[in-house]
């Protein structure tokens, strides 16, 4: 069966520090991969999605970037964190554009 792993579960980082959140999927190949963020008091917002290795689409301009170095690995990064980057980050995968998306357990990031 397919599983999605996301880590770490919680993270506290100082302003200006770098960020790397990792998401991996097992049990499937060539998944669509997604990064969402939930800022305090707001709904989940799609940040990035990827339909294949090296293919990244950004939905909103921001201080973050994403990469897909391997088929089932999706990384969310920042060179210098801002306070506004605090939030709950969720990774998701899907078998195609019209299939159900499965979510990881999320990373709560606090930038201090």
């Amino acid at each position: 069966s397919q599983t999605i792993h996301q880590w770490p579960a919680t993270l506290v980082q100082p302003v200006g520090s770098p960020l790397s959140l990792e998401c991996t999927v097992e049990g499937t190949s060539n998944p669509n991969l997604y990064w969402y963020r939930q800022a305090a008091g707001r709904g989940l917002q799609l940040l990035f999605y990827s339909v294949g290795i090296g293919q990244i689409s950004s939905e909103v301009p921001q201080n973050l970037s994403a990469s897909r170095p391997q088929d089932r690995q999706f990384i969310l990064s920042s060179k210098k964190l801002l306070l506004s980057d605090s939030g709950f980050y969720l990774c998701a995968w899907a078998g195609g554009l019209n299939t159900e998306a499965f979510f990881g357990q999320g990373t709560r990031l606090t930038v201090v």
Binding site: G41, L97, N98, A101, G106
Partner: protein, 114 residues
């Protein structure tokens, strides 16, 4: 641009009582519609989805939702709430033929009184 509104940030119901969580969306055409649940410390789990056809959709855990085009609504219902239903519930929309490009509402936190 599409948007999703969940007017109730918090709802408290007694165990055994009925539940309705509201969801309204703004979209140029009828989108795909979803309800997800997030229990503490867990990822999002899909409760149900509407793509087309019957406007009353049955989901897991005894939940159902009704799509009302005239009201741009997709309210979630359950006839009898269990204590284990306490969680945060998210309504979401996605473009037709791009069902994973989700736009979420702000969520409704459900608390269940014994």
């Amino acid at each position: 641009a599409q948007s999703v509104t969940q007017p109730d940030i918090h709802i408290t119901v007694s165990e055994g009582a009925s539940l309705e969580l509201r969801c309204n969306y703004s979209y140029g055409a009828t989108p795909y519609l979803f309800w997800y649940v997030q229990s503490p410390g867990q990822g999002l789990q899909l409760l149900l989805k509407y793509f087309s056809g019957d406007t009353l959709v049955q989901g897991i855990k005894g939940f159902e939702a009704e799509f009302k085009r005239s009201q741009s609504s997709f309210n979630l219902r359950k006839p009898s709430v269990h204590w284990s239903d306490a969680a945060e519930y998210f309504c979401a929309v996605a473009p037709v033929h791009a069902g994973n490009m989700l736009t979420f509402g702000g969520g409704t936190r459900l608390m269940v009184k014994p």
